[in-house]
Amino acid sequence: MILSDQEYQMHKAAVWRATIILSVVTTVEVGIALLYDTFFHDSGFRMALAIFMILATLVKAYYIVAVFMHLKYERKAMAITILMPLMFLVWLLIALLMEGVSWHQMLGYFHG
């Protein structure tokens, strides 16, 4: 499929825009991680930091899948067959992290 010149330029622009977003988000993530370590090391905002990092990572994942892997431009039915099964991972994540907390408590119980 050969695109018209206008479409080709549009696709190219979308890719460069995604590149800039990915670079900026990565830089901000690393910057905040370092700032946190320097100034807020023992403050209670560890959970807030973790949530920020996870959200920033999901933003990056969106741009890689939607723009680089072109999924945004595919038929919706196909995108759904690929993305829906990933929902099971949300369950696995919650279940295993809760298991981890539970194992931690049991170890404490056994070791005093």
Binding site: M1, I2, L3, Y8, H11, K12, V15, W16, T19, L22, S23, T26, T27, E29, V30, A33, L34, D37, R46, A50, M53, I54, T57, K60, A61, I64, V65, V67, F68, M69, H70, Y73, E74, R75, A77, M78, I82, P85, L86, L89, L92, L93, L96, L97, E99, G100, V101, W103, H104, L107
Partner: protein
């Protein structure tokens, strides 16, 4: 917008699944590459979620801090937390961008463009692997292996007080980044094979550069996984 090159446009929803056409508007190979990547995503997710479970089991207070573990830079020495791994991340993102450009030039049937951008992609992949080799060598040199635990000096390099981390940290680090590195390695090998096919005009004769698109999907997936490895090991 459609990327279908070989399909009859479906007239109505009712006859779309009755055979003879591609309901998703993509060729078989590309669809199967997507489903392979889906299965691969489950493998990596199992790795990373297990990492989370073990990390909670061991406990946050005796889990090593990434800023203390990953703080060396080639030639510069110690005291540069996260700098080297950020460089690796940028290399992989850029390599992914080069790959998108190669795929786009393939759609335009521009052989020279594909050669140029796929070449850059391969160089990026090799650069990433070299960085990873250096990082592994550095960590192993510092005593972190599959059988001996991570140690670092709490107040920075040369301060004396030594922190000894759990054995699981190194084991998880080497298996997960190793499995990712293995994917990058196979990606580079497949990229080189496709690159040679482009150079020899195989796809020019076939009148499509679909293979570049398929290997491109794989390559972006490797980048995608790295984003989550980066989150788990270096940011959290």
């Amino acid at each position: 917008m459609t990327t279908a090159t070989n399909t009859v446009q479906a007239n109505s929803e009712s006859n779309v699944w009755e055979g003879g056409q591609a309901p998703f508007g993509v060729k078989y190979g590309k669809l199967m590459m997507w489903y392979f990547l889906l299965s691969d995503a489950f493998t990596f997710a199992a790795f990373l979620i297990s990492y989370g479970a073990i990390r909670y089991t061991v406990g946050q207070d005796i889990w090593p801090e990434p800023n203390k573990v990953f703080e060396a830079f080639p030639l510069l020495g110690h005291g540069y937390p996260l700098l080297f791994v950020s460089l690796m991340t940028f290399i992989l993102i850029l390599s992914s961008v080069f790959m998108v450009r190669a795929v786009q030039e393939g759609h335009q049937m521009n052989k020279k463009g594909v050669i140029l951008w796929l070449g850059f992609t391969i160089i990026g992949g090799i650069a990433f692997l070299s960085c990873q080799a250096w990082e592994w060598a550095h960590l192993i040199h510092n005593g972190m292996t599959m059988t001996s635990p991570i140690t670092y000096e709490i107040g920075g390099h040369g301060s004396g007080a030594v922190f000894v981390g759990p054995l699981a940290f190194g084991q998880l680090f080497f298996t997960i980044t190793g499995f990712h590195g293995f994917h990058v390695t196979t990606g580079v090998v497949i990229n080189i094979i496709v690159f040679l096919n482009v150079v020899f005009g195989t796809y020019e004769k076939k009148k499509n550069y679909d293979m570049v698109e398929k290997v491109g999907l794989y390559w972006h997936f490797v980048d995608l996984v790295w984003v989550f490895v980066f989150l788990g090991f270096y940011l959290l």
